[in-house]
Amino acid sequence: MELSKKTVVRTLAVALIVAAFGAGAFAQAPPVKIGLLATLEGPFAAGGQDGIRGAELAVRQRNGVVAGRKIEIVKASSDAKPDVAVNATRKLVEQDKVDIMVGPLSGSEGIAVKEYSKTQPNITFINGSSGAQATTLVNPSPNFFRFNTDGGQWMVGLGKAALDKGYKKVMVIAEDYAFPYSQVQGFMTEYCKLGGKVPVKAWVPLGGKDYASVIARIPKDVDALAVVLGGADAVNFLNQYEQAGGDKPIIGGSITVSQDILNYKGKRRDSLVGTIAGAPIADAYDAPEFKAFVADYKKNFPDGYPSPSLFALVYYINMKATLDGLDIVKGDLSDGQKKYRDTLSKMTLKTPVGDVKLDANRQAIGTTFITEVVKDAQGNLYNKVLRKIDNVNQTLGLPPAEFKVGSRDEPNCP
């Protein structure tokens, strides 16, 4: 019988299929599918890319395997809009059938994804880097876990540091959505209590690029500006402020002096040097675990930033929590993942910046840094540590009854 081409191809195909099935029969336990959502478009696209790097670093540190199961990451993108984030999450959970969901990046998205998580009680949702207080404080979801501290917690200690520097009157300039509300609340709660005054608050639209008018409104008698902007907004504001001849010192929000801002393409602004800020990360933190993390980041991502940004660290922490939890339950996600979630609620997570535990709302209690921007020998800007505060909880040390979630008008101390 002549071997026609058709026969050969068909035989090969059958052989391959048999081999695949055979291989499957010898395969390990099925891979664990983890959905990863970050903003790869819109105002935080650069931060989103770094967040993905941080999450992937956690996976690479385990060589892509956890508890004998291969880790399969399914990525999705959003653009800081809540409905886009929910659609992307829904696709990952219902279509791609991920076991665990990690994300989103932005504050308002986090609130929307939390609401969605209530409709999927058998899937575990772990935060990406969203930092709005309301996500875990208001109507929390039993299967939404946040292993990073929120925007308000990130600003603990900054009020006192500002007063220590002699800034008695501060003007707040912040973006108009959930995350900056939390950040301003975290700053002002302490600042107002210790006697600081905030005569003017300017809320600007997210993605609005022209700050000339806001700059024109800065009163002459404020000592400093609390600038809680992120992404391109931050770069623009700082640039336009300097061009207009402004010289007031700046107190930064957590994403205002993050590495993705300090490394924007363009001339380094010397005016940034000396800016104090509150954040869950400090580039110059010298603990060995953190230095190992930074070295690992640089080795794995030569095209990343000189030092990992806030987004990289926070996504790394949350992904590490995901994988550590899987390790403890030995990859067992049966019975609706109940055992997995119990483990997550109780475990103490070791992160490059200290230990993290969860409170009753599945919100992290962790470490916050007060930082200051300095320039190194090569002219790169980075954040050095002024102070480290451990065990910051979501009510910022206040009794829960006294604590009010941040909004446009709360807190107020003109």
Partner: protein, 687 residues
């Protein structure tokens, strides 16, 4: 407009402005003057970019929605040029040249073959803008690129009277804008090429007959228009930095400037830019909450008595000539003028449309769908397509059969959604009133229909591409309203947890019940539209689309029919809007933003405007693309896939998917050996 009315409007607008200025000066002179300067300098930037846009539009009637991408391209390339050479002036030249070259290529290779098909050109520019923006992000990344001003423009000018200090670079934008404006005016009015351009605006045919190479003139104009966008990009890269997303912002600004100031006029663009820039900066400076007063006059600028071409502030002889051209064309070729937007004429709906086997098959498939599809496909693909398809159906009805392409259909849908959220229950107790769901839905539909009628009333005197622009402006104004208003609309966050009720023991948000709900209303809408199109009203509407003048002579009230069509389309869009809000479970400003306004147009065009079913076809393709493009190529390049697919369909079909379908069926049918008469007739109708 009579002299009396001119004075009336001038005083009505002028006196409050004078009074407010006087108050502002004595209250805080520094803030007032700085804001004035901010507004004028911002206006300069907008003017430079918008002048290119209006140049292209005025001559070639091409609404180039890729104008923003050209801005981005010029800005990025200028940035790299500045890095390489250290010279800002070189960067300006490179930015201009790069964008001009790309514009030239676009004109010569694509738009040259689509002369007269305004809507198709617009759709192609949409596709191009998506593709260009994504390619730029791929090549350059999402990092912020902040260009530095040249050393001689760096830093502030100090010791100024009243304002003390001001950014040198920003101040320099004013003379730059003036120089560009004067140069452009001189070019158009005092050079031979400019004369040819103006002649081409008046009468293309005569220009060609006079021996001028019209294609060369068009190519030059497009290149200059694109180059201006790139030039603006380099200027903006210093002042506002370059980041993905800037293209949409500047495009929007150009659109609003051109609408407010008059389409096709350089002086109009200047005045429009001034109004827009000043409104924006004064809003930001003085109004805490309503920080952007964009579009202050989009509605007020269209007093119904005026000829649609005279919208805007000035009436340069250029535009006057355009009016004369339009009137002349109108008298000679009534059919051609009605197709100013060249909507492909839908197939004639036969008065008796027998129920065919294929209809029953499709219906059976739709009804049985949840039984074999996964919950994800039922909900996220099926129900979403039906809800979106319903909204797009309103556009197909209004645009395909009424000849009025309105980009505000999603706005109407959003209004319905917002009303349901505000009057019903949601997660935001401060905003929602908590009334029973059926009352909220009823209010939503009624209010949205009323809004649609209002939008129709504002837009009824415009035609074709002008309707697109006006309705887009209205949609954008509504977006900014809900974005900035917190008391009623809750601003950026919007309202969450807007869910359908639990009725008769069924929670209607579960996948299968919601799918059937959406299917029911989609079918209802579809059958309603099909029925309406065969009714006297529908026939009259199509008559008005084809020849409004003749219908008017026959005694039909053209305006009333058109406004009613808007209202009917609004009702359909409202139902779709309620469904879509329930589907998302939330309504935010993002739901009614520019991208969604244009998405509905994309859906309608994608499917084909020749038959109501096209809206649903387009919706299915769109939803599939949105969800699965990310799986096809590298997960980060999904926008590229969406843009490319859309481009292919628009470039190679003259009416989306239905156009391909009918072309295909024509091909197949002639092979079956029909008589020459029937196959020729089929080819005629299936054009």
């Amino acid at each position: 407009m009579t002299r009396f009315w001119r004075w009336f409007w001038a005083l009505l607008i002028g006196v409050p402005i004078m009074a407010l200025s006087a108050w502002g000066l004595q209250d805080n002179a520094r803030l007032f003057v700085i804001t004035l300067l901010n507004g004028l300098t911002l206006a300069s930037l907008y003017f430079i970019v918008a002048s290119g846009f209006t140049l292209v539009f005025g001559l070639m009637r091409n609404v180039n929605l890729a104008h923003g991408s050209l801005y981005l391209l010029g800005g990025y390339l200028g940035f790299f040029a500045a890095q390489l050479t250290g010279s800002w002036l070189v960067a300006l030249a490179v930015g201009f040249a790069a964008a001009a070259v790309v514009g030239l290529v676009m004109q010569v290779s694509i738009f040259r073959f689509m002369l007269g098909q305004d809507l198709r050109q617009t759709m192609v520019t949409i596709g191009l803008s998506i593709v260009i923006a994504d390619c730029l992000m791929w090549a350059i990344g999402a990092q912020v690129h902040q260009m530095s001003p040249p050393a001689w423009l760096d830093g502030p000018i100090r010791n100024l009277p009243v304002i003390r200090a001001y950014s040198t670079y920003r101040l320099s934008l004013l003379p730059i804008g003036i120089v560009i404006g004067v140069a452009l005016w001189l070019f158009l009015n005092r050079t031979r090429v400019g004369m040819m351009i103006r002649a081409g605006v008046d009468d293309r045919g005569m220009l060609a007959a006079a021996g001028v190479n019209v294609n060369l003139v068009f190519a030059t104009t497009f290149a200059i228009g694109a180059g201006l966008a790139g030039f603006g990009g380099v200027i903006g890269a210093v002042e506002l930095s370059m980041v993905p997303g800037e293209d949409t912002r500047l495009l929007l600004a150009s659109l609003v400037v051109v609408i407010v100031g008059g389409m096709g006029s350089v002086i109009g663009a200047a005045i429009g830019a001034a109004i827009f820039g000043l409104a924006e900066t004064y809003g930001l400076a003085y109004l805490q909450r309503r920080v952007h007063l964009r579009d202050p006059g989009a509605g007020a600028r269209l007093p119904p008595a005026r000829h649609p071409r005279e919208t805007g502030v000035s009436a340069a002889n250029w535009r006057g000539a355009m009016n004369a051209q339009h009137r002349a064309q109108g008298a000679n070729a009534p059919v051609a003028s009605a197709h100013a937007a060249r909507v492909p004429r839908p197939a004639r709906l036969r008065l008796q449309n027998p129920l065919r086997v294929r209809h029953l098959l499709v219906l059976a498939f739709l009804i049985a769908y949840p039984w074999f599809a996964t919950p994800f496909f039922t909900y996220q693909i099926g129900a979403q397509s039906l809800a979106l398809g319903l909204i797009a159906l309103s556009l197909t009805f209004l645009g395909g059969y009424g000849g009025m392409i309105s980009l505000a259909q999603m706005t109407v849908a959003g209004i319905a959604g917002y009303m349901v959220a505000i009057f019903g229950t949601s997660a935001t107790d401060g905003v929602s009133l908590g009334w029973p769901w059926w009352l909220a839905v009823l209010i939503g539909i009624v209010v949205a229909t009323g809004a649609a009628a209002f939008i129709g009333w504002l837009s009824v005197r415009t035609e074709g591409i002008y309707t697109i622009m006006i309705t887009l402006a209205i949609g954008v104004a509504f977006y900014y309203l809900v974005l900035q208003n917190y008391a009623v609309f809750n601003g950026f966050q919007g309202t969450q947890k807007v869910f359908p009720p639990t009725l008769a023991g069924v929670y209607w948000r579960n996948a299968t019940p919601f799918y059937y709900l959406a299917l029911f209303w989609a079918l209802a809408g579809y059958l309603f539209v099909v029925y309406l199109l065969r009714s006297p009203f529908g026939i009259a509407l199509q008559g008005i689309r084809d020849n409004p003048r003749r219908m008017h002579a026959l005694g039909f009230n053209v305006t009333a029919h058109r406004v009613t069509a808007y209202a009917v389309a609004g009702a359909i869009a409202a139902v779709g809007g309620v469904l879509f809000t329930w589907y998302n479970g939330l309504v935010t400003p993002g739901s009614v933003g520019t991208s969604w306004l244009i998405n509905i147009l994309i859906i309608a065009v994608l499917g084909g405007m020749r038959h109501p079913v096209g809206a649903f076809l387009g919706a299915i393709v769109f939803v599939l693309l949105q969800n699965f493009a990310i799986d096809v190529i590298d997960r980060e390049r999904f926008n590229l896939v969406i843009g490319a697919v859309f481009l292919v369909i628009v470039l190679f079909s003259n009416d989306g998917l239905l156009g391909w379908w009918s072309a295909l069926s024509v091909r197949l049918s002639t092979q079956r050996g029909e008589t020459r008469w029937s196959s020729a007739r089929r080819r005629l109708y299936a054009r």
